[in-house]
Structure formats: C-alpha cells, structure tokens
Amino acid sequence: MSLEIVSSGLRSGSAERWLNYLRRRAKSPEFIIALLLVVALSFLVLVPVFNLTSRTLSWTESDARISPDAVPGRFTLNHWQRLLFGRLFMRMLWEPLSHTLVTGGIAAGIALLLGSMLAWLVTRTNLPGRGWLRSVLYLPFIIPAFALAIAWETLFKSPLAGGRPGVFQSLFGVVPPTWLSYGPVPIIITMIVHFYPFAFILVSGALVAVDAQLEEGARLLGASNWMIIRKIIFPMITPALLSAFVLTFGRTVGTFAIPYFLGGPVRYDTLSTMIFRNLSMGLDVNGYILAIILILLTSLVLYLNSRLLGGSSRRFEIIGGKGFKTNITSLGQWRWPIFLLVGAFTLIAVVLPIGLLAYQSLMLVDGCWELDNLTLHYWLGRVDPDLAFGSPGLFRNAVVLGGAWNSIRLAVLGSFICAMLGVLIGYFVVRNSRSWISRFLDQVSFLPFLFPAIAFGAMYLSMFAVQRGPIPALYGTFTLLVLVSVIHRLPYSTRTGASAVAQIGQELEETAELQGASWLKRFYHIVLPLARSGVVSGMMLTFIGIMRELAAIILLYTPSTRVLMTVAYRFAEEDIPQLSNALILLVTVITILGQLVVWRLGQGRLARLQERKL
C-alpha cells in the first residue's frame, strides 16, 4: 500500500481514483491476510500490554472495600505510589530489584568471561576435539534451568527446606552452610552454568568473523601472537563482547526457575519470583506493576545493546557457521592439560546435573545415597501407598501421562501455528518492506522479545482471567496456553520466517505473478516449498522451547491443562524429588534429542542449499 498514491489521490481530489484503489485492495488476498495479521497481533500483543498497564492504573473492586475513595475502574496512581513510596517498597520492589541486578550482573560477567575463554579455545586454537566440544558446551543452555536448580539442590540440600539430606550432607556428614545451599551464591553459580553457552555462542560468532587477513597483515610486520590479540582482535570484538554481556544480562534478569528454587527457602527474591509470589497470593496489581518494571528493565538492556552495536542489533547473530578461515594458535604443550580442564568442566556443567537427577530418581528412600537403595519404582512402579504418597511411577502415572499428552499437544500445535505465523509475517516484513503494514508487523512481532516469560504469564493472566467485554475468559483453557506459547516465541519464528523468505528472490514470485498466478497460488507453489527447510528448523526449535517452558505458563495452568514441566514443579513442591527429577530428566532428554535433530536438519539443509544455487 503506497501512502504516496493515497496522498496524491487526495490531492488530485479524484474520487474515482481513490475508489478504484480501495476496490483493488479489498479484493487482494494478500492485503486482507496482512490486515488480519495486523489485527491479530494488535489483539494478542499490544492489547495485553495496554491492559496490563491500565490495570495498574485503575482501582479494583477489592480496593473499594478498603478505601472509601476507590471507585472501581477509575484512574489512579495509588497502586504505583504505594509500591514506590509506601512501606512495601523495600521488601516488594527494592530488594528484589537489587537482587535481580546483582545476581544477573555478576552471573553475566562471569558467564561472559567463561564463554569468551571457551569461545577462543574452540574457535582459534588447536584444542583437541573442539568440533564436538562446540556442541557439547552448548548443552547447559538447552537443559531446562529448572533441572540445574534442582540438581544443585540435590547436591546441597539443607534442612531449611525440609526433606532428606542431599549429597553433600550424606558424603560429609555435616549440613552444608546455608549460603551454599540457597541464596545468591547458588543462584549466581547456576546462572553462570546455564547462560555461559549464550555468551559462548555470541563471542564465537564475533571471533569467527574477524578477517584472517587483518591478522596476517600484522604478522607480516612482525607482531607477536599476544600483541595481535591485544591490539587487533580485542579492539575489534570489544563491541561484540559488550553486547554479549548486555544480552546475557538481559536473559539472566528474566529467569524464574533458578531464583525460585534456590532463593525461595531463604526468602531471597528477584523481580521474577516476586511477580509470581504476588500473583499467587492474589496481590494481582502489585504483580502487574513488577512485571511492567521487569519489562522496562529488559527494554532498557536491549536499548543499551542496540546503542553499542549501532542499530539493527536485535538481529543479533547466533552462529551461522559462515566458515571464514581463521588463524589457529597452537597451544603447544598446554594442549592436553587444557583439554582435560575443559573436559572436567564439561563433566561438571553437563554430565553432573543430569547424572544427579538420574541417580536421585532411582532412589527408593530420598536422602539415602547407598547403592542398595536404588529402584525403578519411580519410573515404572505401580501404586504403593508408602511411597510418594501413593503416586505410581512416571510411566504409569495418570497425572504424568496426562501432562505428557498436554505437553505434546501444546508443543506440536504451538510450534506449527507459530511457524505458519512466522512465515506469513516474515513474508510481509520482507516483501514490500516500505509499507506501514510491514513495519507494523515487524515491530510488533518483535515486542514479545522484551517480555520475560513470567511477565508474559502475568500479562495474559491479567487479560484473560475474566470475561471483559468481547474478550473471552480463557483462563484455564488449553487455548490460552497455545496463545501464550505462540506469541512468546513469535519473535524467533518471525526472524526465521523472514530470513527463509528473504532467500527467495523476489523475481521468482514475480515470474509466477506474470504467468497469472494469484497470491495464494504463489505462496503455496513457490514461497512455501522454498522456505520449507528453514521454517522446519525453526519449528523444531519452537517445539523444544515449548516442551521445556515453565515460567510462561506457571501462572496460567490448571489441573486440566497441566503440562510436564508444571507436573514436575508440583512434584517438587510436594517434596517427591524422585518423581520430579525423573520428569525433569525426561524433558531434558527430549530437549537434547530435539536439539540434535535440529542440528542434523541444519547440516542437511546447508547441503541442499548448495545444490539449489543457480
């Protein structure tokens, strides 16, 4: 749609021109679908945000019972004032906020350090096994954060949280110090383990992109390795390093599971857990305000990032395997020692958590770490009133199986819808990128990226909890979970879809258009087949993401719509560690398998793309 045509039509005052133009537009399926997408996104993205904000700015019915001034529905700054200036400030806002910043900042910093060192080792040295190490080192990011938190708890469980002794206590006979079991220290350490792969990928991408010729020039002039690193490589990747820090920080700020499980027992809250607490206690408006603050924080972080990279940074690049030739530094005699170190680290970060979860899931009596305590009951056993409050083992457990069915339904439906939306929106963003529709779709489909998962849950809860005008009450329905999952992942699927469509030259479509193909025919015969492999990979990633999502749906699920992760969460709350661990382990394995499939697909796709090049 050209604004110029519209305005020149207005200028020349020709009604006929205008009318014919509108008539053409109204008949074009392309335009209609684009418009429908605009409406859908407005409703599913913009309206919830608006709704969230306006709820914090108006009186609720419950306020009316407390305060005589309160007129339900009327505008007020009261809620904000109470939180920011009242006695709630410290406990509800300031402490969680400062905890978020402190844990996030430190974790991001160390994760960056760790990730950078590993990135350098893997991309620019002759470390043995660096091919497969690259994949293995990525795994802690795929393992649900929940799993890592539980694994830590298993190691260092303290009587504070009740339950039976953890590994530390069993091995050493003493209770681990509280600061080691719960609170900022374990939170930070677990976050480091979960997020260093993120920094690792970002920094690897930057290192690989450094043109070898720049270094070769320096080498020819006689510069030493160390000087090259200091004077050439480091300055070149500094923006990328800062950006990696900022993006990692942005992620840590939004985590929920880790601070919930490792901070909860000592009342150490972050913004995300505080949101959850408020909403579980029915202090909705407080929760919403905190969600807004969290969103603002994330937005600020991303804004900083875009300033660092000078615009277009949100199209941050995860490794694309560009295959530049890079110089390899030899590690000399340190080759194998470093390999062992990295191997040991991999064992601790990857194998240990999974192993612990697996082992504990096999323990008959929790807390007894002897080998004769092992059983498969919690996986396969029937009902035993003495064990797990009578819950049968995983694979016989109706609750678990129901959750599994829901998880699969949700992941399949959600990833499919998300991929379709992604390719459609991506299409309109890429083609005709100057139109207002395209820009609107681009910006709005990106917006959910700014909302940490828990804030997402809060937003959708606020919007769909009760019927309001034409908006139905979707709370407790499967539909709501699908909606949330789809919108939550939309930024990624839109980027994937857009890049898949961008690969398709516009002329391929134009030729079809000239032959007389309608838009629908073109989309079906030309665009979809050619975009397919890119979209399928994206769909797999969405599938994995939805399978292991907890924070976004923890506020929205009900017994009938529970999924695997929420079932595991309930088992953890009810203190049946074997079952919750087994379940987490199951989800982790599914997730890792899924990621392997994606990697395989990616290789296949690359090969086929080479073939297709004209």
Binding site: S14, E16, R17, W18, L19, R24
Partner: protein, 372 residues
C-alpha cells in the same frame, strides 16, 4: 509462427521512490512487432519503466495502454495485475524455480492458462525443441549450465505465446562468447514470433546490434528515440553522443571564428576547418574516433599532435594523441607504425563534426538555431 502482436502506448508516466524520480514523465509509443531497446546507465530508470509496463511496479502518474487494454491509468485508479496484461518476461537472473524441473517450470504457466492437460506435454516439448533443448525436461535448474538455464527461461516465456515480450538484461549473466551467440538467437526469436519486444540493457553494442529502435534514457527521462544508425550518427543530445560509441566520442570546446580564409573552430591553441558556423560564442564539437585520420607528415588543414598511446585491437588500432590539454582518440583501420611521443598530423572531416550547444547539450544544425 505469426503470433498476434500489439502496440504499447505510454503517456506521462512517472514513478517516484521516496524523493527520487525513477521515471520522469515518459511518453513513448512502441510499435507492434518492433524490438525496442531501453538503453542507459545504471539508475536511469530503464528497468523501472519495464517493470511498470509489466505491472510489477505501480507508477504514480500516467497511462499505459497495451493493445486495446488500458492497463494503467493513474487518474482513474486503474491498475491491471501483471497476469492479465498479456506480457511475458525474462529476468537477468532467469528466475527459474529451483524446486521444479525444466518441464515443470515451463508447464506452470500453461496450467495457469487452463490449457487442456493432454496438450501441455506437447507444447512444452515443442518450445524446448525450438530452443535446441530436447531431452532436458527432467533436469533441475542446478543441473543446467548458465546458457541452458537461460534457454529454459526463454522457453517458459514462449510457451504461453504472449504478444509482448519484456526482457530485463537477459544476457548479462552469460560469458562473453555465449552472449554474442545469444544475441542473434534472440533476434531470430523475435523475427519468428513477431511479438512486440521491449528489451533493457546498459550495453550499447547490444542495443545497436539488436534493436529496431533504441530509446536512450538518463535520470528517468528519454533522451532520444530512434533507429540505431540515427542514434549513432546524429545523437540529439550530448549525453547520447557520449553514451553511444566505443570508444567514446571525442569532445572539444571551441569558439567559432570567421576569417577571410574561411570558417574555423578555435580549439585551445589550434584551428580546425568548419563547414558552417553557429551564432553562439562557444560550442562543443563532437567527433567520432573513426572520423579522424592520422598522417605521418604535415599537410594543409591538419594539426600536429603527439602520440600518447597505441592500442592495437586486431583489425583496427586505437591511437591516443595529445596536444597540450587536448586529448583525442583515433580509430585507424590500416596498419601504422607509431612510437610513443612521435609527432603526427591529424585531419578531421568538417562534415563529420556534430555541434552541441554548450549550455543545453542540444545538437545544433545549420538551418539556424538548435536542432530540436
């Protein structure tokens, strides 16, 4: 083949991209059955104009009539979709659908035109045969060479027998030798089909060899339209004179001088004989390299220059000569033994000089005043 062909009329066509005028009030009539080449440098608007005719771009002002159909009329808001304009197009990149075989690429349009299912294989086989591509129906584009891909693209164009062919630099991606071969193939195709063809290129040799008429464009405007020989001999504008011709035309700034001995042009520190003098005080002389001769000795009406460089090129030789600030390129067809810095004498036929108004760049004629 005798396909019906139709004329194209373009009136007042304008297309803006933001602030840039890609096509600036273009009026053009393309006769039925002719081979019209849109020629010009990058960014002159030739491709945009072609795409407007095809319906792939929507102009801001103007009118386009293809045959009897008004396919675009800004004032009344008429814009017929590309599929209904009866045009076929070949792109520079061929735009073959990579996930379809050659057969499927060609059959796609036939299916859309609702050709009877049994007739399609026959038609596809026929166009492939016409282009010398039998047996390649089941190949995918990546299995074909550049030249073969181009022929499939042409086959796809021919299959539905459109009365108008649009071609956007279809030969640019081919290597030099193939390009030359394909030029005569395309001319043949045009002759056999009789379709009205609009062809875009930036290569002036291509334009001159293939066109029935050439439209030279610059900055969104048509500078001149005419037969190739006309464009070459009598370029109406300085831009056209400079753009056409390989190597480029020699341009000299001169003052007309009238003496008892005759009519002259004063250039720098020498004089050239003139056939007629314009009224302006300063003009631009345009002389083609082949209209200059090199003599090894001084003679009347010649000017001394020095050899700056000699570039032998098979059947001809290009000699760059210099005198002070003035540099000329000369094309000679007989063998000359010349050394660097050797003094030589240059003769220019006065009737071969084209005069251009220095301010407007228009060609001047001796009927008094500038040529329109």
């Amino acid at each position: 083949m005798g396909v019906s062909n139709i004329p194209i009329k373009i009136e007042g066509l304008t297309k803006r991209f933001g602030k840039v005028m890609a096509v600036d009030r273009i009026d053009l009539v393309i006769q039925q059955g002719e081979f019209l080449v849109l020629l010009g440098p990058s960014g002159c608007g030739k491709t945009t104009l072609l795409r407007c005719i095809a319906g792939l771009e929507e102009p801001d002002e103007g009118k386009i009539v293809i045959g009897e159909n008004t396919v675009f009329f800004a004032e009344r808001g008429i814009a017929v979709p590309p599929g209904e304009r009866q045009v076929g197009m070949v792109f520079q990149s061929y735009a073959l659908w990579p996930h379809m075989t050659a057969y499927e690429n060609i059959a796609f349009g036939l299916k859309l035109k609702k050709m009877a299912r049994e007739k399609i294989p026959g038609r596809v086989a026929q166009v492939l045969r016409d282009l010398g591509m039998e047996g390649l129906e089941d190949r995918y584009p990546f299995e074909l060479s550049g030249g073969q891909q181009q022929r499939v693209a042409l086959a796809r164009l021919l299959a539905t027998k459109p009365p108008v062919f649009l071609m956007d630099e279809p030969l640019s991606n081919l290597d030099a030798r193939l390009r030359l071969d394909m030029r005569s193939e395309l001319k043949r195709l045009h002759h056999d089909s009789g379709a009205t063809t609009v062809y875009v290129t930036h290569d002036q040799t291509e334009a001159l060899t293939m066109a029935t008429r050439v439209a030279v464009m610059n900055e969104g405007r048509i500078q001149q339209v005419g037969a190739p020989s006309e464009i070459y001999q009598k370029p109406m504008k300085l831009f056209v004179a400079e753009f056409i011709g390989m190597p480029r035309i020699n341009l000299l700034s001169a003052q007309p001088v009238s003496t008892d001995g005759g009519l002259w042009f004063q250039v720098d520190d020498f004089r050239l004989p003139a056939a007629w003098l314009p009224s302006q005080e300063e003009v631009i002389l345009a002389i083609r390299p082949e209209d200059i001769s090199i003599l090894l000795h001084s003679e009347p009406d010649t000017v001394e220059f020095k050899v700056y460089g000699v570039l032998p090129a098979g059947p001809e030789v290009f000699v760059h000569v210099v005198r002070g600030d003035v540099r000329l390129v000369v094309r000679e067809t007989h063998q000359l033994e010349l050394a660097m810095d050797q003094p030589i004498w240059v003769r220019i036929d006065p009737s071969a000089i084209n005069l251009y108004n220095k301010a407007s760049g228009q060609l001047m004629s001796n009927e008094g005043g500038d040529k329109g």
